[in-house]
């Protein structure tokens, strides 16, 4: 520690608390920026942002992204990366749509198809990355190509699913009590969410618990932080990496179904660029690409920040499509530089 920060450090030590670690600092920065952004939107833009429904809409739109980003964070914590998730989401959507409309399948079968695709992807990619020690980037790149290609091979044209049982499931609305608002006519409108949001929130909570309080979760951090010392601690590094990739792909399958529930159609162009959004959300949420640092809550906030900024950009009238991309990129740039500064500060 530098002498200048001695007093600050001493003050913290008296509270028997280690000074804010990288992980917590990055998380705090993310949450603060998200809150400032959202409050700023409420104050300066008002309108839609004042309603709770706006937040729920973001959640509904992004439920698939939340799930994939959580899976991505798991892989990134162990020091890997998986860019096949967007392709898997598209493949799951298309396969489920074909299963429901052309093969005479039912809803439980389509769910099994979604999970099966995710599982198969996870097993293959996990095996190649963990046991054959091939770079995760190149494997998941091939995985992405494969998924995108397979999607068009399964069915080449986009179409809407007309299965009734599925439509009923798709339109299920879960009313959130007490969060509604009155519309212009003075009628009270309930705020609602859909099933995808429930799945996404469940995933976030489960993974948070797993990473924080289970042996496996701690093994993830250990492997990502330093795989050599993790090996010496008796952690099965290969198996841990395998499980991380397995979970990421399985979650991509789940996310595919959540996305399918939201859009209700199959199309080869679904979820294009979702892998990059997932990586960006994880980074914004404070997950370090070098591995060992990351937090599921941060990732969740990262997704919300990403979509809030998109919402803000479109509501302040910068409707030209390019501004969204440019602001998201600028935000990513900002967070990357913050991360870089925060992590290098420690070494000096």
């Amino acid at each position: 520690m530098a002498t200048s920060s001695k007093t600050a450090a001493a003050a913290k030590q008296t509270k028997k608390k280690v000074s804010l670690s990288d992980q917590n600092l990055l998380l705090v920065i993310t949450i603060v920026i998200f809150l400032v952004m959202y409050l700023g939107a409420i104050i300066f833009l008002g309108g839609g942002f004042r309603n709770a429904q706006n937040l729920f809409n973001i959640l509904m739109q992004q439920s698939a992204l939340i799930i994939t980003a959580c899976g991505m964070s798991l892989v990134m914590i162990t020091g890997g990366i998986d860019i096949s998730v967007g392709g898997v989401v598209a493949l799951v959507c298309m396969s489920c749509a074909v299963c429901l409309d052309y093969m005479g399948g039912n809803v439980p079968l389509s769910i099994l198809v979604a999970l099966g695709i995710g599982l198969a992807y996870g097993v293959v990619q996990g095996f190649l990355v963990a046991y054959l020690e091939i770079q995760p980037f190149i494997i998941s790149l091939a995985g992405m190509f494969f998924a995108r290609g397979m999607t068009t091979i399964v069915h080449s044209q986009p179409f809407n699913v007309e299965n009734e049982a599925f439509a009923a499931l798709k339109n299920t609305r879960i009313i959130v009590p007490g969060m509604g608002n009155t519309n212009r006519l003075g009628n009270y409108v309930d705020a609602y969410i859909n099933i995808g949001v429930i799945i996404a929130l469940l995933v976030v909570i489960l993974l948070f618990v797993m990473l924080r309080w289970t042996k496996l979760g701690r093994a993830f951090y250990a492997v990502g932080g330093n795989s050599q010392s993790a090996l010496m601690l008796g952690i099965n590094v290969k198996r841990t990496k395998f499980i991380a990739h397995l979970m990421c792909s399985l979650l991509a399958g789940v996310a595919g179904y959540a996305f399918f529930l939201y859009v209700g159609s199959g199309s080869p162009s679904h979820a294009s660029g979702m892998e990059m959004d997932a990586i960006a959300s994880s980074i914004i949420g404070g997950t370090l690409l070098t591995g060992g640092v990351g937090n599921i809550i941060g990732t969740f906030v990262g997704v919300l920040s990403l979509s809030t900024i998109q919402n803000i950009v479109s509501s302040i009238g910068l409707d030209d499509a390019w501004w969204t991309g440019i602001t998201v990129a600028a935000m990513l740039c900002l967070f990357l530089i913050i991360q870089s500064v925060v992590t290098s500060r420690k070494k000096d």
Binding site: I81, L128, Y131, L132, E133, I134, Q135, F137, I138, I139, L141, A142, G143, M144, F145, F146, R148, G149, M150, T152, I153, S156, P268, M276, I279, A280, I283, L289, T290, D320, A321, W322, W323, T324, G325, I326, V328, A329, A330, L332, C333, L336, I337, Q339, S340, V341, S344
Partner: protein, 368 residues
């Protein structure tokens, strides 16, 4: 083009063992397999015909010419990508988006604010040079993020990947300018009287330049030493940050050249489609060329061979009526097979197996 190490060896076995260790072995084997496959399935694949185009000039046509033509962009990008990979141990995933920016700049300069001007607003060379400057600036931006902020290259370039096509659309305010000047089409088509497509010549010039640079300057040595061990490179008096940025700037230059070819091919631009997924192909070319994606030593000839191998595969698949959207699935299978075969773990296992099986013969053939 460089030949793979054909030093005269006493026995064929030793020669094969030597050859399998060369990084250029993988693309050559892949290319040969593809070539034999095509020869068996349909020898007509190799037919080259001399036709006349709509203006009455002779042009060569045939699958091989298509490969040489369309593979050029990839080969040019593979040059820059190899250097970036070697120096920083990561890949630039923004090249496709950067090509869109470069193309957009060229059209902006050539067409001004009009959608379809009667005559060019500026000479092509000016537009190209400006595109070079812009692409190199973006390269320097990527390089600075990688070198100074120590962000992984893939992630640092994710920024430009997200923003690039949007910036390209913004440069021309989402207009789609059309260049009607026929001479502009020479760069992506054919020059009247010369039957071979121009992109191939451009690729050859680029390859020749980089071959000369690698031969007569210390660039290659410095890039490799930074990639192998940044700290010892610094202790030996090199400036790793500068060299990393330099590789990204060189990639920017390659991007500008590709941008020129791309817009010249169709005389206009489609921001969301131009050079789509080319970054993935360029990275594959580098990996196929036997280069480690983790940086360090590189093999430029291998990457360029890799680029043409990928184009060979693409053209072969097109020939069997594979729709362009389904193409990635087949490519992915090929890539996975190649990567698995070249993985160190698999190589070691296969090597041990080969030794066990043929202890008297040492013709350790690894790839079946």
């Amino acid at each position: 083009m460089q030949k793979s190490g054909t030093k005269s060896k006493s026995s064929a076995g030793q020669f094969f063992a030597e050859l399998t260790r060369k990084p250029i072995f993988i693309p050559i084997v892949a290319l040969l397999l593809l070539a034999i496959f095509n020869l068996v399935m349909d020898p007509g694949f190799y037919a080259i015909a001399l036709n006349h185009n709509s203006e009455g000039y002779p042009v060569l046509s045939g699958s091989l010419i298509t490969i040489l033509d369309n593979g050029s962009e990839l080969a040019i990008l593979a040059i820059g990508m190899t250097l970036v990979t070697a120096a920083s141990g990561g890949q630039d995933i923004s090249v496709g988006a950067a090509v869109a920016i470069a193309g957009s700049v060229i059209l902006r300069v050539l067409c001004g604010t009009e959608t379809q001007p009667e005559s060019l607003q500026a000479p092509v060379i000016v537009a190209f040079l400006l595109a070079c400057v812009v692409a190199m600036l973006f390269g320097a931006f990527n390089g600075a993020l990688v070198a100074f902020f120590r962000i992984q290259p893939m992630v640092a370039t994710l920024i430009l990947y997200t923003a690039g096509r949007n910036i390209a659309a913004w440069i021309n305010q989402n207009r789609l300018p059309i260049v009607s000047e026929p001479s502009f089409g020479y760069f992506g088509g054919t020059i009247p009287g010369i039957p071979i497509p121009t992109p191939f010549f451009i690729a050859v010039i680029c390859v020749a330049i980089i071959a000369l640079v690698l031969k007569f300057t210390t660039l290659g040595l410095y890039v490799q030493s930074v990639g192998i061990n940044e700290n010892s490179a610094r202790l030996n008096g090199l400036n790793p940050k500068l060299i990393k940025i330099l590789t990204f700037v060189i990639l920017g230059l390659c991007v500008a050249v590709v941008g020129l070819i791309k817009v010249s091919r169709i005389s206009t631009i489609n921001y969301s489609v131009v050079a789509k997924d080319i970054e993935m192909d360029a990275i594959l070319a580098v990996a196929l060329g036997g280069n480690s994606l983790a940086g360090g030593k590189f093999n430029m000839a291998g990457s360029i061979m890799g680029a043409y191998t990928i184009q060979f595969l693409t053209t072969t698949l097109y020939k069997y009526n594979v729709p362009s959207e389904a193409l990635p699935a087949y490519k992915a299978v090929v890539v996975i097979v190649l990567v698995v075969l070249s993985a160190p773990v698999v190589k070691a296992r296969l090597g041990a197996l080969g030794k066990k099986l043929s202890s008297k013969k040492n013709t350790a053939k690894e790839v079946g």
